[in-house]
Every structure is written in C-alpha cells, then in structure tokens.
Symmetry: C2
Subunit: 453 residues, 2 copies
C-alpha cells in the first residue's frame, strides 16, 4: 500500500450546510446571562455587537444551516481540504492503529480560521457593517479575518495579545498586507487598555483583555461590529464544514473513527472536526471517543471550574457557562498563543460536562517533540497549537500498540507552522518557557467568579 | 461566472514523465567546459559531485524521462497543484485579458522547490549517498531539500547566504526542524569561506559563494554529494511536472496561453512552467510569447553578458555558457533572496539567445506593490520572488487593456510569502533598500570573465 494516501473531494462536494449541534444535544445548553440582571440575554442585547443573521445562528435549533452561495464560492479557493492517512507515522510508531488527519493548513492564511472569518464578514457586509473589531491571540484569527475583510471591503481593527504581537511579527505584517490595522493589546486606544497599562505598563496581554478592547470600540458605533474567532456557537458551527467534509472522506477511505482528537483553546477547530461526528453519535448511536487536547499552562477543561463567567477580562461580555480558569487569569507566554484563553466554548464545556468528550493537558515541550516527529515523518510542520493534537494522536496510537487494539484515529491538523518557526527555534535552543500549571493563580482568579443565584 | 475558478486534477493525473527540452531545441546547447582544459566536461568530471542518474539526466536527449514511482508517490502529498483563473484580478484591472496562475505554494515548504529536491534525494539515496551539501539563497531550496533528506534519511548541510540567514531566521528553523544543519555563508567551515571572511569579515554572502562552500565539502568524501536547487538541466527538468500539469489544466479550462510568465533567479520555476509549452511551440508551432521577470538589482538576462563563466564565486564549477553579471558580482541585499544569482540557467540563457523568450527587469518596490494588490484581490500573499511574476502578469494584462486585445496569460505563482512577511513589513514601513542596477560593479565583475578560445 502507498505511504501517501490523500482523500480529496471534488469541489462540488463542499458541504452545502453547516451542522448545528444544538439540534441534537441530549440536554440543552445553559443560556448566556446578562451581566447586570442575570437574566438570559436576548437578541437585542447582542445587536450592538453582531449582525442579526449571526445572532440568529447563535440561538438556532435547526440542524442544518445553509452555507450562503458567496461563502461557498470563496471556500472553493482552498476547500475541500485534504484528509490524509498517516501511514508513515503509523509505521514509525509501529502501531496497529490507523491514523488519519484532516489538514486545514491549505487555506490562504494557513489555518482553519478563514472558514468562519469569511462567513462572518459576509453576514456583516449584508447588514451594512463598515468596520469590524476583533481580538487575536497568536494571529491565526486576525490574519484570517483580515483576509475576509479584504474580500468584502470592510475596515478591520485587530487587537493582538502583546506577547504574540512581539513573538510573531509576521502575523502583524500579513494583517497589514490584507489592509487591516493590528494593535498590540493592552493598548492606549481603549479605556480597558489604558486602565490595565496604568496598573501594569509591561502587561503582556491576554485574549480576555483583547476581547474587552475590541468590544469597547465596536459598541461605540452602529456600523462597527465585533467579531470573535472562537467560543460562540455560530463560530463553532461555521467550522463544521471541516467535519462534514471529513465524514465523506472517511467514507471514501472505507473507515470510521473510533477516536477523534483536536486541540482546544477557545474550541473552534476542535468543534469543527468533531461536532458532525458527535451528531451522528447522538442521532445514530455511532460510538466515538473524543479527546480535547489543551496546554498544561492554560488547562480550562482539565482544571477549570464549570461555572458562569465573563468571556473577557474587562467584564463587558454576557456571562456564559463554561469551563473557566477565571476571567482575570493570565496564562503564561507560551508559544501556543492560540490556546491561551481562560475559558472554553460553552458548547464544548457542555459536552465535557455531559460526558460526551474527554480532555487531556500536555506541556509545550512534549508537544513540540511530537510536532518535530510529525514534520520529519509526515513532512508537514504543524502550528504550535496543532502539535497538541499531534501529541494526543501519537499517545492514542501508542496506547493501541500497548493494548494490541487496531483503533482508527482521526485528528485535526488545524494549521501549518510556517508563521511560527520561532517557536521551533526556541524548542531546539532549549529556550521554551516552563509551562507548569499555576494553581494558586487560577484559584485566585476563580475567587472573582460572578455569583449567580 | 464564478469568481473562484480552480482547476484541480485527480491524483492519477500527476504526470508520469518529466519533459526534457534538450530533445526539441532548434539549436543545441553549448556544452559545459572543464575550467582547466576548456574541453567539454564528461560524466567522470561530475561524478565526485552528483549521482550517475542525475549526470545522465543532465546530458540526456530523451524527450520524456520517467518520474520514478517513489518520487511520484511523494509528489502525491501536494500534487497535482491547483491552477486558478484570476477572475477577481481581471476585474480589478478591468482588462479584456484572461489571467491564469499555477500555484506551487501548496507544497509542505510553500514553494516549487520540493519537485526537484525529492527527485535529487531519491537518486542520491539509490546510489548510496550518506550526506548532501547544498547552498540556499532565501531558503526555499534549503528547506525543501531538508524535507526531502528527512524523507530519505540523508544527512544535509545547507550553506545559506548570510544576508538571508539574518533576514529570514524562520527558514533556518524549518531546516533544523527537518533535521538539517544550516550554516551562514561565507563560513569558517571551508577554505573558500575563510578566504573571503579574511578579506571582508562582514561579507553578506551570495549564492556564488555558498555554492563554492558546498562544493568544497562535497568533493572531500565519496559518500557526500552536492545538490543544486536550480540552474542545471536536470534540476529544471524535474520542475517540468509543473508545466506538464498546467497543459492538462489549461485544456480543462478550454484555453491555451498566449503569454507565459515566470520569475527568474536561477531559472527553475520559470523553466518548470514554461519548457513544456515551449516544447509544443518547437514541435507543433503552437505560438506563445514568454516573459522572464527578474530583479533590476540582479538583471542577468536583461543586462548580463552571454558568455562562459563560473557558476560560483570560488571558481570551482565547470564553465557554463550563460547570461552572467560576472561570478564575482555581489547582488545587493534585496528581499527577493531567491533571485540573487549572478548567472542564469544555461538552458534559459540559450532560449533567450535564440529568441524563444524575452526578459524584463523590475524594481522590488513595484513588485511588492503588485504582491500587495494580488493578496488583496486574489487572497494569496506571494513570496517576494513570485511578486516579479505577478508584476509581469499585471503589466501584460494592462497592455491588453490598452490594446483592447483579450490575450490569455498564464504565470507561475511559485510560492507563498508566509516565511517572508518581514519583506512586506519593510515595504509598508518604507524601508526597502534601493535596488538600482549597479552598472560599474557589473562591468568590473565582467572584466574577470574567463577567456575561452
């Protein structure tokens, strides 16, 4: 059998719908609450920040939501993305397991993020939005929304977590190339940013802070909206184009996954691959084990509390029930910038709470070790975030070797590492920061959780 | 009509052969000469540096050379690469021309270079090579050969032009990730390097110097061979997989190019797209205008002399007849590191000499301007080298607008710019070095051309 097995779909097989897992949940999701009244938020509360089409998707119970024609057209530039059988990795590990991976690094910005960026920019354009504000961690999201806003001719301001802004200058430059403005966060452009810098001029930022800054600006103008790259239901749903394609590609391979693996920061690439398979589990009882892989230094799913919390540091967002390390927790400056978020998508958190998924936390050194192995065996250098999924898949395959069980593993290789080679350089130079779990900092942050009756 | 038109081939349409333009030349290529005797070099002269299979390909007159099965298998990871119709760019330019581009940025290292890297590593492995040395300019070649050597488990030392080593640290890191050693050139590891550093400790290097260093090391051991990423006939031939695919894809589009465009440094991506079409021109009289786009700062085709010269600065290589700026010419430190070579592939030079191709030189600022436009209109950020082809294609399309002639243009987008965003950053910050043609430096270098009877 060939060592290079790629399952490609014809362009007309790009899914026509996104999958909305809300329709199939065994138990409904806890609603987001207004931070003042603690009552469920309604569409009107969200209207200053999002176009109505996205607010509708956020609360929709329809199982299939049609992908608009223009969005599908843009998807065609890089979709359907390939699904590979990792035969060389299987041989290298000498495992009886079959390992498959879906590869989202083929998009113009090298990650899965354009799947929702293009959709969000489209709906904003439809409703007259002139400018969008957003936050970005490692920059995958910011550069992808910059691409989308360039296509739809919408102005874009991106608040980028300062540590990543400094570590990953190429990301700022690609946003600039696509015509967006990229601002290191915390910044002096917002009240939230100014207040933080006053207390701590060297603050290296967090997604929570950057979200506060972006929301603050968006709330000031009717034609400026806010856009989020993960966490929210509609964002996760746009990513299900990944899983919907994978279901067809696994059929082409004549296989079905026993184990599904993705890395989790806010949860979007994980949800994108996994929700459509979980839907089949809920509807058709097709069993599948799901493992979310997160960094030890920011372990919301494995160490966080499942509770109502703010999505941002400035406490401007609605309260959402999620696994959280506390909205004031500052994750250390590891290289997996896309996974440095204090919370987890409410939908992913809910699935963990009802036992539909498991979670594991890995240190960044063991993840880069897995990433280097993958690059040398399979040829693709994974993004630092994606190395967590690689590590999870390798561990699962080695478990199969130990047990002699030939399971079928599918993971999401959500992006390439071409923008993030400094991280690999630091790994080789033994310069990677320690990334142990800071329990006392988390406990302190959790003390400030809002009290909900 | 859709704005996103992608012509994809099935995997089994990956060409089974490379195209060897030597078979169809109206006039044969001048032979390489031994630097001492000035007699044509034979296979024995090259045997210390290259495996016999590649020496055979270098002088072959067979039109089609079979791509070995294992090489084709590896190609499958990213080939066939897509060919796009640039409808949005056409609209943006308001041109009656049709613009197509072949996109080689989908390879694991983001450029066309793995097409020959994999082939060269394969033949070396077959003949027992334990270690390969090579040079690299911007790093596309070094990282691609590192990938190939990782696949075939061959040790690799890459001499990287110092200015690019410093400008593009990510390239060094990806080579390291693939297990290769990357050394800034000129280095203290070779006599050539030491001699240059003694005279000029701050020498920023050139491809010519890096080639000398790599050859010097390769010549010292029977199981160490040398590998070149461009210039030689066999290297250019391996790239024709690009053009062979494009011919089928243009048939799918129901079109045939009137104008073919590629950027030229050593000539390999240009040759890869263009030679198969030129073959059809020579055999079937299918007319096509061909434009090679090179940097104004290193204009071998437009300003160089067509003469026998050394391929390297240390004067260790055979003498080859090519358009040259003189082997001692030091191109300025522009961002298009892959185009900074004093000479041009003998085959490309020959085609220019017999009038089969034209050449144009562009400044780096106008190229980045074209690159930014392309990114914003078509969504893909081109590598700095590839912006020269983009600029050439835009100029040709605007010419069509002026003349009202609806020509069909096809160009090679040979790589993405994800590793090279600093160049775009410098463009936006107005920090790009001047890149005028240094005529006196070239004249001085040309004084030292070897005298051939």
């Amino acid at each position: 059998m060939s060592d290079n097995i790629k399952y490609l779909l014809e362009e007309d097989k790009i899914p026509k719908t996104w999958y909305n897992i809300s329709a199939d949940l065994p138990k409904p999701l806890a609603p987001p609450l207004h931070p003042g009244t603690h009552k469920p938020v309604g569409p009107d509360d969200l209207a200053p920040l999002f176009p109505m089409a996205l607010i509708g998707q956020e609360v929709s119970q329809e199982r299939e939501i049609e992908i608009p024609g223009p969005v599908r057209e843009i998807y065609k530039q890089w979709r359907p993305s390939p699904l590979f059988r990792a035969r060389k990795l299987e041989k290298n590990l000498d495992t009886p397991a079959k390992i498959y991976y879906k590869y989202e690094g083929v998009s113009p910005t090298g990650s899965h993020k354009p799947n929702t960026a293009v959709a969000q920019a489209f709906y904003n354009k439809e409703e007259g939005t002139k400018k969008i504000t957003t936050e970005t961690g490692a920059g995958q999201w910011g550069s992808s929304l910059a691409l989308a806003c360039s296509i739809f001719k919408i102005e874009l301001d991106v608040y980028m977590v300062r540590v990543s802004f400094d570590q990953k200058p190429y990301r700022k430059m690609i946003m600039q190339t696509y015509g967006a403005k990229c601002i290191a966060s915390p910044s002096n452009e917002t009240n939230t940013g100014k207040a933080i810098l006053k207390k701590d001029p060297n603050n290296t930022g967090s997604l929570g802070i950057a979200i506060s800054e972006a929301i603050e600006i968006a709330a000031q103008s009717e034609t400026t909206k806010y856009s989020l790259g993960s966490v929210l239901n509609h964002v996760l749903m746009h990513q299900t184009v990944v899983g919907n394609e994978s279901i067809i590609q696994m059929e082409m391979a004549g296989d079905y996954p026993d184990i599904l693996i993705g890395c989790t920061g806010g949860g979007s690439n994980f949800a994108g691959l996994i929700f459509p398979f979980l839907g089949k589990k809920f509807r058709e009882k097709k069993e599948v084990k799901v493992i979310a892989c997160e960094p030890k230094s920011c372990p919301s799913l494995t160490k966080g509390k499942y509770a109502y919390d703010f999505g941002d540091t400035g406490n401007l967002t609605p309260l959402v029930k999620m696994h959280t390390l506390g909205s004031s927790f500052m994750p250390p400056a590891t290289h997996s910038g896309g996974l440095r978020y204090h919370g987890m998508a409410p939908m992913v958190s809910h699935l963990k709470d009802i036992g539909a998924i498991e979670a594991k936390a890995f240190g960044q050194k063991e993840c880069f070790e897995a990433g280097v192995k993958f690059a040398n065996v399979e040829g693709i250098v994974p993004a630092p975030e994606a190395t967590h999924a690689v590590k999870g898949a390798i561990d699962a395959a080695l478990e199969c070797k130990k047990n002699g069980k030939p399971k079928t593993i599918l993971f999401n290789l959500c992006g390439h590492g071409h923008f993030d080679m400094q991280a690999y350089g630091d790994y080789f130079d033994n310069k990677l920061a320690e990334d142990d779990y800071n329990e006392s900092a988390v406990n302190k942050a959790l003390e400030n959780l809002p009290k909900i009756a």
